[in-house]
Symmetry: C2
Subunit: 245 residues, 2 copies
């Protein structure tokens, strides 16, 4: 069996944030599998089969990718950002657990620049000390888990990065997230709304927690929250490396 399966991170959007490792895997691929807008980022070429699929079918997509690779083809499953951060790598292993007959396949996970870190770089260094990454969507977990984690992150004085802060199907949840943060953090806490980082639609906004409103986030936004020491210097936001005793 000469087929293989790669789960590759395309980074947040810009071509020059795709690692050479991922570019090389795509150049060798016979098949590219993924969510429609991510597959659209791969340049078509003769002999390359594209398999775009809709959102929220991650497990089916992973299973299909395993089957294509098992048939001897060279499959790249494309994720935005990093495949291990709220993306396709976890779904792939879930599918592999359900279908252990594919465990002999050659599988590789190739890291990518995740949105949270690309957004942090644009803003300065807001995640310059200990931080948490939290997926705010309750598609796959009860919202109580989100709330518990938010409170622990705030009480531990972690900086935070939020993925999937808001969607059409969950318009009210991010308002609740801001309420929880206001209960746990001071009003001057810095909040960064980073939309579509590294694409032509990029927009970065910095406000205080008191000023933050739910409408500042949409499906393409990553939200970063500083820790209690995060501050502005000129047009930048950064979190100091040290914590006073």
């Amino acid at each position: 069996m000469s087929g293989w399966l790669v789960v590759a991170g395309l980074g947040p959007g810009a071509e020059d944030l795709v690692t050479p490792e991922v570019a090389a895997a795509l150049a060798e691929a016979s098949d590219v599998v993924g969510y429609i807008p991510y597959v659209a980022r791969v340049a078509p070429r003769a002999g390359l089969r594209l398999h775009p699929s809709d959102n929220r079918v991650e497990l089916d997509r992973a299973r299909a990718a395993l089957e294509i690779a098992a048939a001897g083809r060279r499959v790249v499953v494309v994720s935005s950002g990093d495949p291990g951060v709220f993306a396709m790598a976890s779904a792939l292993f879930e599918a592999l657990e359900i279908a252990p007959e594919f465990q002999g396949l050659e599988i590789r996970i190739l890291p990518g620049i995740t949105a949270m870190l690309a957004a942090a770089a644009r803003a300065g260094a807001p995640l310059g000390h200990d931080f948490c990454a939290i997926n705010l969507s309750d598609n796959l977990k009860p919202f109580e888990v989100v709330e518990t984690r938010l409170r622990h992150a705030a009480r531990g004085d972690f900086a935070m990065g939020f993925y999937n802060p808001r969607s059409r199907s969950r318009p009210h949840q991010f308002a609740r997230v801001l309420e929880i943060l206001r209960e746990e953090c001071e009003p001057g806490r810095l909040v960064i709304f980073a939309r579509a980082v590294s694409t032509p639609e990029e927009a970065i906004g910095v406000v205080t927690l008191a000023e933050a409103t739910p409408e500042m986030a949409d499906m393409r936004t990553v939200v970063l929250v500083g820790n209690s020491a995060t501050r502005r210097v000129g047009r930048w936001v950064y979190t100091p490396r040290s914590v006073a005793p």
Copy 2:
């Protein structure tokens, strides 16, 4: 003034994990500034001035980089991994806060593949749900802060990534970290020791928390700890995307 300053992430070690954006900045640079082993990763060329410096002088290094850029030169400060994750970006803004006369400089932070995510990719998808990144070093913070954050991370059932778990000057601390984790988590919790990821010395080990010993980590190791649902599938470790209600 035509000088500029870039803080660039070189990724964890492999050349094919350096983004094209960072490679382009290095190709345009007149000066490269950084910790000795990171500067050593930049290919020398005629006209390129290398400024290697020792560890623990981050603030002096940042100040020097600002001065060189202000003199009209094109400076790249190199970090391992991502410059915003326990690396040089935060030190740069600290230096800029102390010396606001440099705030007019053109500054850019270029993200890179951080060790935690490269390690996760090698192991599977252990950070496939909400996670925390914690710097275990107490060089710049009291160890009590580390302990508080560890307990919050565990009680929030976050997966965790630890940077700087152990050094010659702090041989006993990581033993204490394991003790705290044993108080907070079940003995079967999966722990990944990822050493020198993406280099020829790479070594990945997976053990349970009960089996973990301090000697499994050294200065070049990133340690990943799963959440309560993290499990093995074949030779891989992954954290499911969903949390049961």
